[in-house]
């Protein structure tokens, strides 16, 4: 019995000891995210510093898929027959991009160039919402930041619709990400939305004072104040209006942009790169053609200058390497457009603006003005002789597309987009009879899987 009591006593002690330890166990276990700031913090507790970093983040997000080997410039270059990618590790650069069909289930190919611009559209929406909450910023600073955000957002929508084209694409990006996905808007609606973003942004930039409350990358040197940024906003607007055939609006916009025939053709706004830690380098730089090579037709199709040499642009922008053949496709050219892994990638520049003005002038009836602009580019950029009057609209279009092809080569899929908007995709060369020219990219597989039923077009 004594023993039994001892045990009972000990059991009591044991239970007490356990209880003490259990209570001691009620300590705080919260561990923060050491590696990332929280989205909620930016949304609920924005400060001018966080706003500035969020604004600068839009440049990071917008650049994300420009300078990569399977990015916007590279993939659109392939479908538009400006470039090839001979990376032996992935045959889909040829099998999918040149033969097809484009596969939404290939995240680096047919299903590519979709999530990144939408993420940046979301970034801009988060910034715009935070601007409504933040304390310590002036009305002008907020207005400038909003105008800037809407302009970048318009650019990202443009990256999306340029690839999905007549499939349309979702418009609403401010909804809860885990809810049902937004409806797919038509191409026309997306363009209308882009135009509205740019116009709203312009008004905000004009009320934005003299300086941005954040810094811009070196590529935005020509648009580093709200006033100059508004000119960049108009430059994008001029492109958008030309793409949807509103040439009067395009002409108005281009005239309000930074177009300047006395300035260098390279004057413009760029995505910047560096080798700094945490920064991206420009992977379009591939001097030996390990993966990215130029389409051999660039030199073959080039006009000759009065002295018999090739169009200066063809010579300036490509270089010869020993011929390579991959899956029946050959090339002996690489690009020399991007001279180093820190070379910037153009967003829009003076040379395109002059060509946009030529296009807008021609289709608004100013044929002489159009010829003058075309000849300015032929002589200034290509070293070619000036040409005579256009026989007809088709002749103008042929000339315009040729000048755009050589002036804007491998800068963002211009050749493919231009051929498509003038219904001339069938003029793009096919190296082999089995090849095809794709007209648009499907939705990425995840976008299709998230929608039940799947959209009528663009999936599968």
């Amino acid at each position: 019995m004594k023993n039994m009591r001892l045990i009972q006593m000990n059991m009591t002690r044991l239970i007490a000891a356990t209880a003490v330890l259990a209570i001691a166990g009620c300590s705080e276990l919260t561990v923060p995210d050491y590696n990332n700031p929280s989205l909620e913090d930016l949304q609920t507790n924005p400060t001018p510093t966080k706003i500035a970093q969020s604004a600068q983040g839009l440049l990071v997000g917008s650049r994300l898929q420009q300078g990569t080997q399977n990015g916007y410039v590279s993939l659109l270059g392939i479908v538009g027959r400006e470039s090839y990618n001979f990376d032996p590790a992935d045959p889909r650069f040829i099998v999918e991009m040149l033969i097809g069909p484009l596969d939404g289930g290939s995240p680096a190919f047919g299903g590519n160039l979709f999530g990144a611009p939408y993420a940046n559209i979301r970034n801009a929406n988060i910034l715009l919402a935070a601007l409504d909450v933040v304390a310590g910023m002036s009305a002008a600073q907020k207005s400038a930041t909003k105008g800037y955000a809407r302009t970048i957002q318009a650019l990202d929508y443009l990256y999306v619709i340029n690839t999905r084209d007549t499939y349309g694409s979702p418009l609403e990006v401010s909804i809860a990400p885990t809810g049902p996905p937004a409806a797919i808007a038509s191409k026309a609606d997306i363009f209308a939305h882009i135009a509205k973003l740019l116009d709203d942004g312009l008004v905000e930039l004009q009320a934005g004072g003299t300086a941005f409350p954040f810094e811009l990358s070196p590529g935005f040197a020509a648009a580093s104040t709200p006033e100059d940024f508004a000119k960049f906003n108009r430059a994008v607007k001029a492109r958008v209006e030309a793409y949807r055939g509103n040439y009067a609006a395009s002409l108005t916009a281009v005239n309000a942009s930074f177009i300047d025939t006395s300035a260098p053709l390279t004057l413009g706004v760029y995505h910047s790169y560096s080798t700094g830690s945490g920064d991206l380098s420009n992977l379009l730089f591939d001097p030996t053609g390990r993966a990215i090579v130029a389409h051999p037709s660039i030199r073959a199709d080039a006009e000759r200058k009065p002295d018999g040499t090739l169009d200066a642009r063809a010579l300036r922008k490509t270089a010869i390497i020993p011929s390579r053949t991959v899956q029946g496709v050959s090339s002996d050219l690489v690009f020399s457009i991007y001279e180093s892994n820190t070379a910037p990638v153009p967003i829009i520049r003076n040379e395109e603006l002059i060509l946009l003005r030529a296009e807008a002038r021609f289709f608004t009836g100013n044929v002489a003005g159009a010829l003058s602009d075309i000849n300015f580019i032929r002589t200034t950029s290509g070293g070619l002789a000036a040409r005579g009057a256009f026989a007809n609209a088709a002749d103008f279009t042929t000339e315009l597309l040729k000048q755009r092809r050589y002036s804007l080569m491998f800068e963002g899929g211009h050749r493919w987009i231009d051929a498509r908007r003038f219904n001339r995709l069938d003029t793009l060369p096919k190296a082999l009879p089995t090849h095809n020219v794709h007209s648009r990219f499907p939705f990425t597989e995840a976008e299709c899987l998230a929608r039940v039923p799947a959209p009528a077009q663009g999936c599968g």
């Binding site: 930016l42 080997q69 730089f285």
Partner: protein, 968 residues
């Protein structure tokens, strides 16, 4: 008061007649007990008068009971060796053990003798094929490890997939940290940005297999519930060796051997310059010579350098102090230049009794390892060995020239022979672990005992990955315009854990039952910190990261804190025939959204033994167990983060990262039911264990793919249900057991099927490189390991559908262990039937028109083509073209040994007592129809789902060893 008496005796091995030390001799119904001396003798004093029953037990032997008459005072007990491990004790709680014969779960035990038969680089290799229900597969043949152990099938989709490793009571980290070779291979720049393509090693590889006393494997929630929210993938309980009282013993083992590549792919041979130029372009004409063929794989991986392993251990002790110390020096040569594996380790385990009630034990070890793993797995820059070879013809001579330089490979960006010779990929790990346990026997009465145990342990390692790609390499200026790349990653991990528990045992006087009650509390922290430096454009031939002009720095940290409590009750009754167990664990963790909430994991089990229910059967046990366990969210899964580590020209930018965390993220919940039948026949000479199980895993950590148009890519949340059912069987037979001859035969069988029973979100894919190259799709009603790809319907339309499944139909193993006098032959064969692998290495060779069979002509629909061209032509319509059956049989282990007789041994030197000479080998033979290097492959390392993707892996090798083991 009856008079007491003294009983003396001897305990002997029943077969050999040799005396047995350390046998425990107890008098039933009393607390009397002694241990035999080195000459096998014992003396029991104060034995009550009258007839008694004496129990004799010793590790490795079947227990025995002797009736001793009232007038007897001298005993002779013989014990039969327990070749089938029927009488082990097995861990069932965090603090308690039960006899295997009562066990209600199919807990597998692997003993030291089974582990150390053939030299193993990593402990998982040493238990491969030895446990029913454990599928243990290598990710590649790279030296140093990288092995996945999966217990009882698929248990998670996005959560942790590794079992919990508990070594001497301390949770040992098994994280796998990528080397960062992707900075050069650019594997993350392609279709799948997963960092795990670096061929990383899961760090349980640091354990020295020679130090292990035994390994117990709790395969699922019904056995492991008491480990709570980290136990869903099973728990591996490893106990290291301890000293036993008696004289000092020294064991020394010296092994020497070598490894050799066991499979190559071969490549196409070209008969004419035209044929060569047709594939490799005009440049091939300059190189092609008729009849000259190089076996590029043999040139690269044909080395057979010597390997060696030295093991020394010493143990002993007296009644109060017991010790075990050991050392290991292992140096395995690699089949490719600059590859190999080294490991050095020392261990000291000490047990100290402090008086009669207090016992302190300490286990410490320090290990250093160096794994040099070459450059393999997927890449996007044509530098990984088997990524360059598919595009390298057999007629080009890539060998080092007389002047010491290497020829330029004109057909692809790198010369693999040069890459192997000049690069460096060194993974150096220093690891130290220490665990301590203080046990206090507060009460030790006839019918009650109470003990308290406190444990504390630390496990710390640093992993240094130092990679160098000097500017002289062919690809170095080409890949990024910046000659030379140096990579340095430094990772450190600290696991701390501790706890106290109390165990109370009640055995009422007349012994109707024994009740064991245990309580405990415990906590642990896990801190992991990884910093990485990538340095390009190396100046002045230096290999330090400071010498580059383009320097990138990344750091990541993780910390998880857990706290838990448990209670368990075991009731053994009806003459030790019925065992009832109930237990519960409750724990909370910083990894959950609600860090204050306790999640509970109960379990219950019952077993009943029928003694000699029918002729030939010694015993039949029926058992059933049910339990719940959890699988914690991974660190960071609960957050919705922004990315702050990106900048543009030095301007910091905040952007969304793509992941949406849940505000209610909690552990996955696994409920496992298992039931089985254990039988032993023929006087312990044969046993059969049959187990069926069903795991229902709910509240899965799902990574749902969001519509990317939302700006986010994935949401992590709890949902869905996964069910895994399976069958395990193991049969052990001792057809012969005599003094001279002993033959043990074992076979195991395992088969499991998994199904997504419920998925609250649309189907989504995990792993792979997109459906066109085979991907895993999680789909309601489907197998979680199903491989989907493009397929074409009869009407010509293209669909994405199931084209294979990574899960094998069944796995079997066969062991034969035959001893004849001093000679012994042992072999272990593992057979995996079914399962599929996506063979993208073959796809690459086909793309290079360079597969060995590429040019074999065939006629399809009247058109002449070649085998390879045909495969490529079908592939866009049928991804299954490159999905292959992964069935294989591998001769995992073989040993032939000779136990030098005593009379000869003594001639070698005084003090030498035993000498064992053996020849052994690992993975000597592989039988498979798989056309890749090895059907055991995973480009993405250890994965819950997405294994079985073959992209340019490190080739498999076989190893041969000659060993001499000496005992002093």
């Amino acid at each position: 008061m009856a008079q007491s008496r003294t009983v003396t005796g001897t305990v002997l091995d029943a077969q050999s007649g040799e005396p047995l030390d350390n046998a425990r001799v107890t008098v039933r119904g009393t607390t009397l007990g002694v241990t035999t001396t080195s000459s096998g003798t014992f003396t029991l004093v104060n034995v009550p008068a009258g007839p008694i029953t004496v129990s004799v037990r010793r590790i490795g032997y079947q227990p025995s009971a002797l009736n001793v008459a009232a007038d007897a005072s001298a005993l002779r007990a013989t014990l039969t060796r327990d070749l089938l491990h029927l009488s082990d004790v097995v861990v069932t709680g965090q603090a308690t053990v039960v006899d295997r014969r009562n066990l209600a779960n199919a807990v597998a035990t692997v003993s030291a003798s089974e582990i150390s038969r053939v030299s193993a680089q990593s402990v998982e290799h040493a238990i491969q094929g030895k446990v029913a229900g454990a599928s243990i597969t290598s990710n590649s043949g790279a030296p140093g490890g990288g092995v996945q152990m999966r217990l009882r099938g698929t248990t998670s989709i996005n959560g942790a997939s590794e079992p919990l490793y508990v070594v001497d009571g301390v949770v040992m980290s098994n994280v796998a940290i990528p080397s960062n070779q992707n900075a050069v291979t650019r594997s993350t720049g392609g279709s799948n940005p997963d960092l795990t393509q670096d061929g990383q090693v899961n760090r349980i590889a640091d354990l020295n297999p020679n130090d292990i006393e035994n390994v117990e494997i709790l395969k699922g929630a019904s056995a492991s519930a008491i480990y709570g929210s980290r136990a869903s993938n099973g728990v591996i309980i490893i106990t290291t060796r301890k000293g036993v009282p008696g004289g000092r013993r020294i064991n020394a083992i010296q092994r020497v051997g070598f490894s050799a590549i066991s499979n190559t792919l071969g490549s196409r041979t070209f008969t004419s310059a035209d044929e060569a130029a047709g594939v490799f372009g005009p440049a091939a004409r300059d190189v092609f010579q008729p009849g000259v063929v190089y076996d590029q794989e043999k040139e690269l991986a044909g080395r057979r350098p010597m390997s060696s392993e030295s093991v020394l251990d010493m143990s002993g002790g007296d009644a109060n102090t017991r010790y075990f110390v050991s050392g290991l020096w292992k140096n395995d040569g690699g089949i490719i230049a600059n590859t190999g594996f080294e490991k050095q380790s020392v261990r000291a385990n000490v047990d100290q009794d402090l008086g009669s009630r207090l016992n302190l034990s300490l286990q410490t070890s320090v290990t250093r390892s160096l794994a040099q793993r070459g450059l393999t797995n997927n890449d996007n820059s044509s530098v990984s060995f088997w990524m360059a070879l598919p595009f390298t013809p057999s007629f080009v001579d890539l060998r080092r020239k007389a002047d010491g330089t290497f020829p330029v490979n004109p057909f692809v960006a790198s010369n693999p022979l040069q890459t192997a010779a000049l690069m460096k990929n060194d993974e150096t790990v220093w690891r130290s672990t220490a665990s301590s346990r203080l046990m206090y026997r507060m009460l030790e009465g006839e019918s009650h005992s109470l003990r308290f145990t406190g444990t504390a342990g630390a496990d710390y390692f640093t992993q240094d990955n130092s990679l160098l790609f000097p500017p002289e390499l062919q690809f170095e200026p080409i890949d990024d315009g910046e000659p030379g790349t140096a990579l340095l990653s430094n990772s450190n991990n600290l696991n701390l854990n501790g706890g106290v528990n109390a165990v109370y045992t009640l055995t009422p006087g007349n012994g109707p039952f024994r009740a064991t009650t245990s309580f405990g509390v415990g906590g642990s922290t896990r801190d992991l910190r990884i910093s990485r430096i990538i340095s390009r454009n190396l100046v002045g031939g230096l290999s330090i990261v400071g010498a580059g002009t383009n320097v990138q720095v990344v750091e990541q940290r993780q910390r998880v804190v857990d706290l838990g409590v448990f209670a368990q009750e075991e009731l053994l009754m009806l003459d030790e025939r019925l065992l009832l167990t109930g237990g519960i664990n409750a724990d909370r963790s910083s990894a959950n959204s609600d860090t204050d909430k306790y999640y509970t994991y109960p379990k219950a089990s019952a077993s009943f033994r029928f003694a000699q229910p029918f002729r030939y059967a010694d015993e039949v046990k029926v058992r059933a167990a049910v339990g719940l366990s959890g699988n914690q969210p991974l660190f960071g899964q609960k957050f919705t983060p922004l990315t702050a580590t990106q900048n543009i020209n030095g301007l910091p930018g905040l952007v969304v990262q793509g992941t949406v965390g849940s505000t209610d993220l909690r552990p996955e919940k696994q409920r496992e039911i298992e039931g089985g039948l254990d039988m032993s026949f023929a006087g312990g000479r044969s046993s059969l264990e049959l187990t069926g199980f069903r795991k229902d895993i709910s509240e899965l950590l799902l990574e749902r793919t969001l519509a990317p148009s939302s700006g986010f890519l994935t949401e992590i949340f709890n949902g869905g249900k996964l069910r895994t059912t399976g069958l395990e069987a193991s049969l052990n037979v001792v057809p012969i057991q005599s003094a001279r001859t002993e033959w043990v035969f074992r076979t195991t069988f395992f088969s499991s099927r998994s199904k997504i029973v419920e998925l609250t979100v649309p189907s989504f894919t995990v792993g792979g490189f997109g459906t066109s190259l085979g991907s895993f799709e999680i789909e309601e009603g489907g197998s979680p390991t199903q491989i989907v790809g493009n397929d074409t319907l009869p009407d010509g339309s293209r669909v994405v559908r199931k084209i294979g499944d990574a899960n094998p139909d069944f796995v079997m193993s066969f062991v034969n262990d035959i001893r004849f006098g001093p000679f012994r032959a042992y072999g272990l064969l593992e057979w995996q039937n079914g399962g599929h692998v996506v063979n993208l290495t073959k796809f690459l060779y086909d793309l290079g028109s360079n597969t060995a069979d590429y040019a074999t002509p065939i006629t399809v629909d009247g058109t002449a083509t070649t085998v390879g061209a045909r495969r490529l032509a079908i592939w866009p319509r049928q991804t299954a073209t490159y999905v292959e059956d992964a069935s294989f049989a591998k001769l995992r282990e073989v040993t032939l040994s000779y136990d030098v007789p005593q009379r000869l041994v003594s001639r070698f030197g005084r003090g030498l007592q035993t000498m064992l000479i053996s020849l052994s080998g690992r993975n000597l033979l592989t039988f498979t129809d798989y056309t890749g290097l090895d059907p055991e492959v995973s480009n993405f390392g250890n994965q819950p789902i997405a294994r079985n993707i073959d992209v340019a892996p490190f080739p498999p090798s076989r190893s041969f060893w000659f060993s001499v083991a000496l005992g002093f």
